[in-house]
Symmetry: C4
């Protein structure tokens, strides 16, 4: 009967670390939320020279402690899920891994540590604990709208990429004899073209010759028209999905950890495993 | 019969300071409009060093006078309303308080005084005196559209917040060895990420390494797509409300001072108090 | 019969300077188009120091000639129209005046001369000669869409104005002790708020304190949402007018010079004068 | 029978260099894709001073080789097409020429060489080899939407052009006595107006006088409204075309090299030549 014991333990751990609608699951999620926020705050503080100089030791020790906790949690998740590999290569599984890995990389390459802030993305999962189905609904309209317009947006981005290379090359040719303009190579000029077309406009690189400024004006006015295209695409697609119902179920699959199953669903939509409730 | 006398006085004061469709109410509102504009103009002038040096005394004295008038008006509003606490904690009640409080705070912390410009928001109430129901209508379509899309926009903003922290951390890691780029800490890098994603692009912080510029280009192009999302949301919601009728009644509730009641309404939609007309 | 003679002359002048569908009218409009382009180009060249130093005399003389021609043309327009005052205070009448007035003002205040470039707006009228009814149609959809959304846009702009004053005052309070940030007075801070909310972002003024940068980030993200509102309004209104027919008549009223009358109209829609055809 | 032989050779070359649905055609397109990417990469590397200094010889020689290959390919295309002049003056024909011409110009004017990056636009044709009809479909909705709104966009751009000249002239008048602001001539001021209206905002030119900053604020807020117009136009037109079917045929016309014929079409929609399949 040992196997049964282990199975029950596994089930209890699963209910705690994955589910949000049991009491201990809710408590766990809230603790996790706080620990993530604290650890992200600490990494930020460590990056500020004046604070790091004073509290270096405190920050390092608490990072050790927090990362150990996250590592244990990651272990428990792998242990409690029925199909560990499915979990590891799922969206949340990769984020969970990316939120502890940088710390260990940081032991060898100090700068790598700051990547650990990717763990803030884990909050996407913690949104569930607020039971805000309206939020969830809103989120899904966005996600569905973006998914549906993916192809159009990829074509659009490829087109922008080609345009930007052509513009960058032409501007480099025009401005290359005026090093004070900042157009020192084609890759830099392409960077300028992106900065200009997206209307960001830092001003670290800007044309100084009359012809260069004329061309830049043309580019900006083109960018004006281009900015309209993604807006049109997303608005169009979002309109299609705005009236559609979205499942409000926050239960997670015990096999792969996926969520957002239909109400009354008995099997996971992603891996086919049996759902608990 | 003294109580009745007091009640009549209260009623007359209410008609003057709150209502816009009586003669004395209209006159009061126009005076208020002018006084607010004058006082805001004076605070602006005081902030200009050359003007402050010359007219310091005149400006200080007139500020004393104007703030006294606003304080008296605030007292009259509390006195004439039937449920003072409801008024004090209503939207306009808080703005009315915020427009006199900074002056008194300014006696102790000089800089606080400039907050008094919040009183310009009181003009939102004075819009009524123009009897521009079309304006009001327009305003309400905007307000309704924004209210309805609140949830979607909160989800969207949370998402932007997470994205911005991740981008800031990565850019800090890439650019930290080049202090001339300005990426001196993660909070600063997050500030840069906001400046870039919103396409503001001051240029006080901008990447100098090739890889940093490549990442920045990716961020800008993402921002290009992201800018489309709120536009889509607001357009969608505003379309829903564009044909809907909006009450044109500018009467205010004598109990809590709330406005925009339905035509023919007998009780306040917010506090349930009886309306006058 | 002298009066009749004068009337015929007036009619012939009117057909030449106002109409676009007679042969001499078309010729006149093309000449006018060229003269306007030449004169605008000359004013531009005069503003470039190196060119002005060399060709000062040529430029001055040709400006004299061109302005004389435009003055004569203005006189002919007043003479040939039946209700001169109506023409003088119409949209095109004011532009016609503004395109010669700066030159005469320039005799006393040299800088005033450059205002003469307003005459480029006269090209709006010359668009007719291309007989591009599709263009005209397109233009009118834009104009109608903008006109209809005027009220909503005025409310929106008033609101932006109030917001910008509040933000400017708060930022001035936060950044006033750091003159290197550029927030030297409240008007300057309001200018910064406009530059930031509209996502222009010059970078000549930008916050340097941590709290100031945090507030600026909030302002930018608000601006992100705000940019969606006019887009929504204009899209909404333009959709309404996109299918509507627009008159293709380019004939002008002989009394006041107004155009775009309905096909078959016998009286001017603006001044009630009789139309020729 | 020699003529027949030549015809068969011509046909086989056509199938290779123009078609994408035969095996050798697909192989050819993939090779072409790689060669274009390599050659564009090389031109970029050559523009970076440090890399050019070290690998100048290697880069020059490989450019010679690649351009020779592209020249041969261009010759084969002209040879294999039935109506060479039609091909030469078609959209792709011009791009094919522009991608080899700059190299030969570069022998006389070194800077011209960098224009060769225009060849990246040839990738537009290579998109076909992925057989991504969905992509193609997406692309065509964009193209159709833009084509249909062409007239409205031209009117809109003309209007922006006029506005920008007027704004530039006024700002020059206001700021000309403050050379540190950068408004040194009207053309420069017009460049500033474009940079500001499109919300790019480099900050290399920005007003310093109070009145100039006030006018700039007005311009920015106008720009805010103007940015809404192209978005509205494109969204409107794209909506019309979003449900329309688009031919998925990638076959090219053997006479002029045009693609996107209707399924089952027997004659080219552009030149009327007979299609192969």
């Amino acid at each position: 009967m040992e196997k049964y014991e282990k199975e029950r333990l596994r089930q209890r751990i699963f209910d705690t670390v994955f589910e949000a609608n049991t009491r201990q699951g809710k408590l766990f999620d809230i603790c996790l939320l706080l620990l993530i926020l604290i650890s992200v705050g600490m990494i930020m503080l460590e990056s500020i020279p004046s604070i790091n100089a004073r509290y270096h030791k405190v920050l390092i020790i608490s990072e050790w402690i927090l990362t150990s906790l996250f590592t244990i949690e990651y272990g428990l998740r792998i242990f409690s899920v029925k199909k560990p590999w499915r979990y590891i290569f799922s969206f949340y599984g990769i984020i969970d891994l990316l939120s502890i890995l940088p710390f260990y990389i940081g032991l060898f390459f100090p700068a790598g540590k700051f990547l650990a802030n990717i763990r803030i993305l884990r909050l996407l999962r913690v949104f569930r604990i607020f039971g805000l189905t309206q939020f969830t609904h809103g989120k899904n309209v966005l996600v569905l709208g973006l998914k549906e317009s993916r192809n159009k947006i990829i074509v659009f981005l490829s087109f922008v990429m080609l345009i930007v290379i052509v513009i960058g090359s032409i501007m480099y040719m025009v401005e290359r004899n005026h090093p004070e303009s900042g157009f020192t190579s084609i890759p830099i000029s392409i960077y300028w073209a992106v900065v200009t077309l997206t209307t960001v406009g830092y001003g670290d690189i800007s044309p100084v010759t009359g012809f260069g400024q004329f061309l830049a004006s043309v580019v900006m006015i083109i960018g004006y028209g281009i900015i309209a295209v993604p807006t049109g695409i997303v608005t169009m697609e979002m309109n299609k999905f705005s009236n559609q119902e979205v499942p409000k179920n926050t239960e997670m699959c015990p096999s792969c950890g996926d969520d957002y199953h239909l109400d009354g669903a008995k099997y996971c939509k992603t891996c086919g495993g049996k759902l608990n409730y």
